[in-house]
Subunit: 146 residues, 2 copies
Amino acid sequence: MACKFCEIAAGKEKQRVFAENAHAAALLDYRPIVPGHSLVIPKKHYESIAQIPTAELHAIFALVGDVEKAVMGATGAQGVDLQQHFRPFIPEGELKVNHLHFHILPRKPYDELFEKMEAVTAMRARPKPGELEAMAKKIKTAMDKG
Amino acid sequence: MACKFCEIAAGKEKQRVFAENAHAAALLDYRPIVPGHSLVIPKKHYESIAQIPTAELHAIFALVGDVEKAVMGATGAQGVDLQQHFRPFIPEGELKVNHLHFHILPRKPYDELFEKMEAVTAMRARPKPGELEAMAKKIKTAMDKG
């Protein structure tokens, strides 16, 4: 299957692409969670952040900063969320594209997304003494292994 | 009020900090949504991505890549989510710190977070013809204004 975002980077679906630079493009998500829901993608096909060469990562984040500001301006939002998901276990489909993309979601006080996220906020645990310390050691060991 | 993450960057709460480089530090969220829920913060106090000087942004993302890999290794997760929220309208408190931070959430197939996010997935609209094009024009105009 052709990669949808590689095709967009190559010039397809121009009507929903609103900005680009040497290494990144910005477009509207075609199934927006909120109006103005945008995506910033590398022009080349990568699937995780660690794969992206430094110069391209810089270009992506330069565009992310500008897009966040413009999306807030265009929608009258006072806040913005940035999200990027690496979930190789979900098969590609209408709502899943492997080509790495950053979601940019304009946010307003007490918007519908806030309400829906209350179930996630309720998941926040209160770890017992020592639990975080034990997890920190485990991650540190994994980092040292590289 | 002293900034909690400025204090951590200065060496407080060492037991939940598990990695750092010249400009960024990685620590465990003290109210984790899932076990291994980590944060990557700039050592200096910034509140939005656009404020961060390029060299510091690079250091942050170098650490994000390493932390994602280590957190997946330590928790046995096959996926990872990256999130960053700019919501100046929410007052600082137990679950809100203004000092910019990237959340890193290890993800597994059909985990509890997936289940809770189904309500958000259900929000995804199917825009009418022309709607995305009109929004793209609006954002483009906002970008041109800078």
